[in-house]
């Protein structure tokens, strides 16, 4: 049986990721700001990207997604489809640490909510991760 030769190009390296928590909570053990690591750090990053409006980051007008804006559109299959596209584009373009597996956007018409599930794999880590969150207009 012929084995496929594996070069350095085929192996994507991973490293540990460490970010601070956007809630700025206090770590009671270190008495410092609490931090998030690895998959949690990536999860926080994906959420940040999706909830950032383009233009919000100074001098980086392309970073972010139009999801926030689309929430004010009528809740119909077209809007759902746009949100779906936006999430895929945003993660593909701006979060290079993950490989996107699936994005599932489900409308909940009764409460004007959207249920979003993003499935991805951290590059170099053979585990499927998923974030689930609900999008709704601020009340």
């Amino acid at each position: 049986m012929a084995l496929k030769s594996i070069s350095g190009k085929n192996v994507r390296r991973s490293k540990s990721f460490k970010d601070f928590n956007v809630s700025f909570a206090r770590n009671i053990f270190t008495d410092d700001v609490s931090s998030v690591t690895n998959e949690n750090s990536i999860k926080q990053s994906i959420k940040n990207l999706i909830l950032t409006v383009p233009g919000e980051k100074p001098f980086s007008p392309l970073v972010g997604s139009r999801v926030y804006e689309l929430l004010f559109e009528p809740l119909d299959p077209f809007t759902i489809d746009s949100i779906h596209e936006e999430i895929i584009n945003t993660i593909t373009n701006h979060e290079e640490r993950v490989e996107l597996i699936n994005v599932d956007v489900t409308p909940i018409y009764e409460n004007n909510k959207i249920h979003v599930t993003v499935e991805y794999q951290v590059i170099g880590v053979p585990i499927l991760e998923a974030i689930t969150f609900v999008l709704q207009k601020p009340e």
């Binding site: 601070f20 928590n21 956007v22 750090s41 990053s45 980086s60 701006h94």
Partner: protein, 677 residues
Amino acid sequence: MQPNNLTALDFEDIKDSIKSYLRTRTEFTDYDFEGSALSYLIDTLAYNTYYTSFNANMALNEAFLPSASVRDNIVKVAKLLNYTPDSIICSKACLKLRVQTQTVGGFYPSSVTLPRGPVATGGNYIWNVLQDTNTEVDPSTGIAEFDNLEVYEGSLIEYNYLVNTFAKQKYIIQSEDADISTLSVRVKPNETSTSSDLYSRVDNITNLESTTRVYFISESDDMRYQIRFGDDSIGRSVKDGEVIVLRYMVTAGKEANGVQTFAFVGLITDSNQTSYAPSVVDVTVKSKSVLGDDAEPVESIKYYAPRYYSAQYRAVTAQDYEVITKNIYANAAAVVAFGGDSLNPPVYGKVYLVVKTKTGTNLNDQTKKSLSSQLRSYGMASIEVVITDPDNIYINPKIYVNYDTGCGSNTSQIKSDISKSILDWGTQSKINNFNASFSTQQFERAIELSNKCITDVTTQITILKYINPNTNQTNTYCISTGSPIYNSAPSQDGSDGECKKEPVILSGPFRTADRPGIDQYFEDDGYGNLRTFYNTGNRKVYTNNAAGTVNYSTGEICFGPINIIGTGAQTPADADISVTDATTGAGVVVNVDNLPTGLSIPVQIIPSNSSIIPATTPGTIINVISPEISVSPIGTVFPSAIPLNSLTPSVFNVIPDLLDVPNIDNSGSINTSACFT
């Protein structure tokens, strides 16, 4: 690790600097990912740094005159140099009003009064007089005339401040369109008082005492001018309860220039208290509206503030006189000053000032006197200021060009290209101005480069100067070309006593008092003498072989003594002269009073070295006459570069059109009327 890039002004550079710092730390690793919370924090920090450095950069730029861009900041820096920018200036016109007064008890009134305020409308503007004006009535005809009445465009505003020394009062002129040259500042002791003291404007504190009634003016925010009074040590201060009365014009500036028709709307009252309706007043427009101008632009403030400061309100060096003259006389287009010691022969204790006006006309005696007395207050005690007219040298180039007929351009195209190219050359060589010299080589080069089809260029250069004789006075008039004059036959020495050389100097026509009936001319004989002659139609008849002298090496030409009574087209009328011999023109002047004035004789001269025509004195302006251009196909023989026997001064009896070199200065306002000084 220390931050490594402290001078970065770009957002991305600042962000990279923070990231490179974080790379050396192990606490957080997500700084490179756009979505991370750390990235958002870095953005905030970088944005803050960027904002601060931008602010610091802008603030520091605005603190210096050359880099500031906001007018208020430029004015504030200029204020430290005690420079007050010029405000907007009213357009003014010159009118003559004529009214027939009515008798009371059989007698005409002694005088009529035109009160200050609006007197006329014209071109959608209102025109005012600034002061009550009186004039006497002719007791026999009852006609009163306001002659040379200057009217100013705008609205006459009166604004009062009640002085309260407990409050921090600022006395500000409440309009950005106020003409401060029309500002009058008076101070009344209280609100009900009818008498007031007139305060005068000063720029510096020399000669001020504690009771001197003066005010200082400076531009403050938003182009409003602020008035300050003294402090009882230098100039009198204003006291509690006093009322400051500011009267000034608010104007549309140069938009109101060029109005030619006016309708009288004022109210004239005579000494018998009879008023006259506007319809009975005759209005004659003596000068259309001129001299209105915008407020001084920021570029001008930036240029003049440091230069004015360097003169320190004192005229010591020649350049000081130039800067101060431009500042106090708006009609000066260019000024040149030089000490009398640099003249030949030297004149000590005098500084000579030559003013080229924007109109091109020479200053009249009254303006010269007033300018000279204004300058005396700046100058050193023993120095006398002499204002002279510019010495104009006119260069008359004739251009001959050969062109390649197969190259694709026709003669009219080549001519227009040459004209354009000459204009460019004129702009670059500062021709028609002081401190210029004429270089034929550069001139020919400019022509050669104007069109690729031109194969050869040659020019005939002659110099034209004007003699301005005084009518019916016997005088000797000297002019100088400042450079040697051409010698047409160097081998001849005049030893045979008969044979004269080909003339290189020829004048335009003039009439003398002893031959008023015929046009005479003068030319040189090649041996240093001028000869006058007239033409009979087929030959020259010489009337005087020693009519003046020529110095060929210095270019000095002296014509006279001679009594001139007419030049060019300005000849005496037949009734004013009595001609006894029609052929020779001999006769006498009958009526001296009717002889023409303002005479000028053109004199055309061939220079020895036509490649460079230098300025004779620092006050010489080299003017270039619009050239005659001949374009001919390649192979055509050019005429000689020395135009012997083809001088035509008579075509220049009036000053010809000069090269219209575009003005690169601020055009400013132009005074074309004798009404205004």
